[in-house]
């Protein structure tokens, strides 16, 4: 926490102002000794000049944004002349030229704030803990009866370090919300930073703001698959945790969700090690779940009023209802299989009906075919996520736990399926948060590769529209988007623009050359392009300038390490996979009995019975499974047809 007892360090510099480089209310220049701890990003405190001089009693905080060094050398030619053209001799001169380290700093805060005047030409000190809190206006939310400070990292400069806090009201709503983090891939910064920050949020989320949970979409590799496992920390990391008053521990409550693979029984995730796979819940959706978000499945060319109307018709009048197809068939459509039967019935009816035209219930057959193709397409492309038949298995809507992380692993799901998962889960979160019946008051949604879901250009997809909606209105609901991407310039302007907190890891030079970074000085850009792992630049509504902070590596097992320590298990044969899932539901289940029961049974029937059992979670899983699987229908040999002997034997006579 803030160390208020730290001694006042001696001055390290002095403000200078010339006609060419004057001090202004927003910027000033100061010099230091050549050997100084000051660097780009350092926070300094300027004290007004001494008694009797202008600026006495004024304190100004600033952050160093640029640095200059030069000597009294009039032109480079003079150095050449002095060394007689020999660079080696230039270093042998008996006297070192007078040099200067001149720094430019942007004003963070002035005290008193009025009247706002140019920075006094006073002494410059390295900031202490208290100074950092003042400079970044953290005092407003660090103290008081209901503090809302969330540790984000340590500001470090010249051997001094101070905790930096974000304001929960501006990170998680309602004043502002959302966090966007960008940085080049492969430096373990973006994901690590979010993991650390989530841990910090869970430990410091103010009690008066209620309960909070996080939903993390794992979109690549094993990144988020081991959040409940402790990682390796170095002593320096532990010291930083201690300094930030954050406990170095993995997340206590993590719920994993992953769809099945195409076989419908093996989970499509890298968290399949026998010791861990028991924690992974299958994510299985049926027709109803898909139909509500059918718009996701339709590309731009598909979107028309007719298709929409037909989907609405199916949703409102057909699904989960007794329905007469008009050709004499009665249907109750619950699953994709039921729907397919209905479609076939319609097509058969139209073909055989003769003279009834090419419309059914005012819907043209072409529209019906298009919708059928799209819906059947998702059940094919996202097989394992979308079940043709049988019940669904979903996130615990209405029963979200406080300080729990819900990891939805869609890393190996078809992009169309990823869109569907993303759209549906976020929409459901929004619905429940609007109704205040989710179980928590706020949810952080972490989405990596944001440029894929909300690109700066490209078509207006359902997912992009939904992300824009969250960005612009989510803070009122407690729906907070933590987005990450490699290139911020490739993400929709309104999505990043609405993020109250912006975090930068190491940036690509080309990216820094884009217009969005024009406000940064060349020195800041160079620093961003060379940031080490574990250091970030943070912009937050309370900070008038970006601040560099260091954070400890997250206390959870990194994805790559997790895969090495808990190698994913090979896919199990069908029978073994069924046994494993039943044992997970009920430890008393005896594998041999299950195998005997399902041998020679159709896999669709087994999957359906298993899904029912999983959804019902009965006391006796095996009995429930057996009941839903139904009795075995014994294969009866076909009876030999009795042939009628010819009346007359066939003669050999050809005529």
């Amino acid at each position: 926490m803030i160390d208020k007892a730290s001694p006042q360090p001696p001055p390290v510099g002095r403000v200078v102002a010339t006609e060419q480089k004057p001090a202004t209310p927003h910027q000033f220049h100061f010099w230091t000794a050549n050997e100084t701890s000051i660097g780009i990003g350092a926070i300094v405190r300027v004290e007004g000049a001494g008694s009797g001089e202008q600026g006495a009693g004024k304190v100004v905080y600033g952050v160093v944004t640029d640095g200059f060094a030069y000597s009294d050398l009039a032109t480079p030619l003079h150095d050449v002349v002095g060394a007689e053209g020999d660079p080696a001799r230039a270093a042998e001169s008996p006297t070192v030229r007078q040099e200067i380290r001149l720094w430019t700093a942007a004003v963070l805060r002035q005290q008193p704030e009025e009247p706002l005047q140019p920075v006094p030409l006073g002494r410059v000190h390295v900031a202490t803990d208290t100074d950092v809190a003042q400079a970044l206006r953290m005092d407003a939310y660090l103290d008081g009866t209901e503090p809302t400070a969330i540790p984000v990292g340590l500001y470090t400069s010249g051997g001094l370090e101070a905790p930096v806090y974000l304001d929960a009201d501006f990170l998680l709503g309602p004043e502002a919300a959302h966090l966007n983090i960008s940085g080049v891939s492969g430096l373990a910064t973006k994901t690590s930073a979010v993991e650390f920050l989530l841990g910090s949020i869970f430990q410091h989320f103010p009690p008066h703001k209620g309960r909070i949970a996080a939903v993390c979409f794992n979109v690549k590799g094993p990144d988020l698959c081991f959040l409940d496992r402790p990682g390796v920390l170095e002593e320096e990391d532990r010291r930083r945790y201690e300094r930030l008053a954050v406990r170095a521990q993995p997340f206590e409550r993590v719920r994993y969700y992953a769809p099945f693979k195409a076989d419908g029984v093996n989970l499509n995730t890298l968290r399949t090690h026998p010791d861990l796979v028991g924690d992974v819940e299958p994510l299985v959706w049926g027709l109803r779940e898909v139909l509500d978000y059918a718009e996701v499945l339709l590309n731009r060319d598909d979107i028309d009023a007719k298709a929409d109307a037909f989907i609405d018709f199916l949703s409102d009048r057909v699904v989960d209802k007794e329905f007469d197809d008009g050709f004499g068939g009665a249907h109750r459509v619950v699953t994709f299989a039921d729907l397919e039967r209905l479609f076939r019935s319609i097509f058969d009816g139209l073909e055989l009906g003769g003279g009834r035209g090419d419309t059914w219930r005012t819907h043209h057959i072409a529209t019906i075919r298009k919708v059928r193709n799209r819906l059947s397409n998702i059940s094919t492309r996202a097989k394992g996520l979308v079940t043709d038949d049988g019940p669904s298995n979903d996130l615990p809507w209405g029963r979200f736990e406080d300080r729990a992380v819900y990891v939805v692993d869609v890393a190996n799901v078809d992009p169309l399926g990823q869109d569907l998962v993303f759209a549906r889960i976020v929409s459901k979160l929004r619905e429940h948060l609007e109704r205040r019946d989710l179980g928590v008051e706020a949810v952080v949604v972490f989405v990596d590769e944001l440029n894929k879901y909300a690109p700066a250009d490209g078509p207006e997809t359902y997912v992009k529209k939904m992300l824009l909606d969250i960005s612009e209105r989510g803070r009122y609901l407690g729906l907070v988007l933590f987005g990450a991407e490699q290139f911020r310039s490739q993400v929709h302007r309104r999505v990043v623009g609405n993020a109250g907190t912006i975090v930068f890891g190491r940036m690509d030079s080309d990216e820094l050359a884009t217009p969005g970074y024009q406000v940064l000085s060349p020195a800041i850009k160079i620093k961003l392009a060379t940031l080490p792992i574990g250091e970030l630049m943070v912009r937050h509504p309370h900070f008038t300038q970006p601040i560099f902070v260091r954070f400890p590596r997250p206390a959870v097992l990194r994805g790559r390490d997790g895969v090495e320590r808990f190698p994913p298990a090979a896919d199990l044969p069908f029978e073994d996979a069924v046994v494993r899932q039943l044992v997970k539901l009920d430890r008393r289940v005896r594998p041999n009995l299950v195998k005997d029961l399902i041998v020679d049974r159709r896999e669709e029937d087994v999957r359906r019975a298993l899904a029912h059992t999983r959804q019902t979670r009965p006391q006796d899983a095996f009995a429930h499974f057996k009941k839903h699987l139904g009795g075995r229908v014994a294969a009866a040999p076909a009876t030999a047809r009795e042939s009628v002997p010819p009346l007359n034997p066939i003669s050999d006579e050809p005529y």
Binding site: D72, A74, R89, P94, T95
Partner: protein, 329 residues
């Protein structure tokens, strides 16, 4: 010292003025022929410094001074000059960075007291500022008063430098040298010390004539002359001296890059003359630009001067604006 005494005399009826004379180019050598006795060679010769091992003291102190002055008022036609003189020694050790180890400054008023109104005279006395008087003859004519004032300023600066240097001698380390900007012969202590050098950039005094003069003034670069003994001039002490050319003069003028070095009058000086010359030649780098005397100005001396000017009162510098009458707005 603050310039409150200026306010006091202005309040006493002195007419305000603001005139800064042309900047001094430093103390000049005597502008007369004095002659010299040969010491090292029977006649003045040229010595090459090629292959000479330069003296390399572990620590060298460089001493220089500055003077600034301004006419701040007139009582009738008698000027009242405010002058500031300062001197410093900056010691360079093995880290090659000069650091100030001694400095002194003085402020004085230069005028003719008996030409001032009583009120102004009393104001000066009350202010406690040191007053240096010019002669009655000089005070009557402005054309003579200002040069007389300039001489008093130079004297004050020379005295300050001498005091500072002599104070330093007592603490001079066994491997420490002191290089003074100017002549040594003003001080018996300085001129007798084995590790004190005077470096003279101006060449008003003429020690030679004829071929020897030509040899001295056309000295090639990185060469020195024989050591000679300038003939005694008034109270000046016995000293050894030689010329040293830092940069080729061809294409410039005869004095370009030409230094005259002074050291104590002792046989050891003759033995060390080449080593000292090689050392001073090495001091050519870094160049003392942008000072226009850079061809003769050693960078550490320039550094002392920069230091002193940075600390001098700003109100004694010429105003950057024009001297046009104020509009009154």
């Amino acid at each position: 010292m603050s310039h409150s005494w200026v306010d006091a005399i202005l309040a006493a009826g002195v007419v305000p003025a603001s005139y800064v004379p042309e900047a001094s180019v430093g103390r000049t050598d005597l502008e007369e022929f004095t002659g010299a006795d040969p010491v090292e060679d029977p006649e003045l010769r040229v010595h090459s410094l090629d292959g000479v091992r330069a003296l390399a003291p572990a620590a060298v102190g460089f001493l220089d001074g500055i003077e600034q002055w301004r006419v701040v008022g007139y009582a009738g036609v008698t000027p009242i000059v405010r002058a500031y003189v300062a001197a410093a020694i900056r010691l360079r050790r093995t880290d090659r960075r000069p650091r100030t180890i001694g400095e002194d400054a003085d402020e004085l008023a230069i005028t003719r007291l008996d030409r001032l109104p009583d009120a102004a005279r009393e104001a000066l006395e009350r202010a406690g500022v040191r007053v240096v008087e010019i002669s009655a003859d000089d005070a009557g004519q402005p054309a003579r008063a200002l040069p007389a004032a300039r001489i008093e300023v130079q004297k004050a600066r020379a005295a300050l430098e001498r005091r500072l240097a002599e104070r330093r001698l007592s603490g001079l380390g066994s491997d420490e040298w002191l290089v003074v900007d100017g002549v040594l012969s003003d001080s018996s202590a300085l001129s007798a010390h084995p590790r004190v050098l005077g470096v003279v950039k101006s060449h008003g005094a003429e020690y030679f004539a004829g071929p020897e003069l030509e040899r001295a003034l056309t000295l090639p670069a990185v060469r020195r002359t024989s050591v000679f003994r300038p003939k005694s001039r008034g109270a000046r002490r016995d000293i050894y001296s030689w010329y040293l050319r830092l940069w080729p003069w061809e294409g410039n003028d005869l004095l370009y890059g030409l230094l005259r070095v002074e050291a104590r009058a002792h046989p050891e000086t003759v033995a060390r003359a080449s080593g000292i010359s090689a050392w001073l030649t090495a001091e050519r780098a870094p160049l003392a630009t942008p000072d226009r005397r850079w061809d003769r100005l050693l960078y550490p001396i320039h550094d002392v001067e920069t230091y002193l000017r940075a600390r001098a009162p700003r109100d004694l510098l010429p105003a950057p604006g024009s001297r046009l009458p104020r509009t009154g707005t």
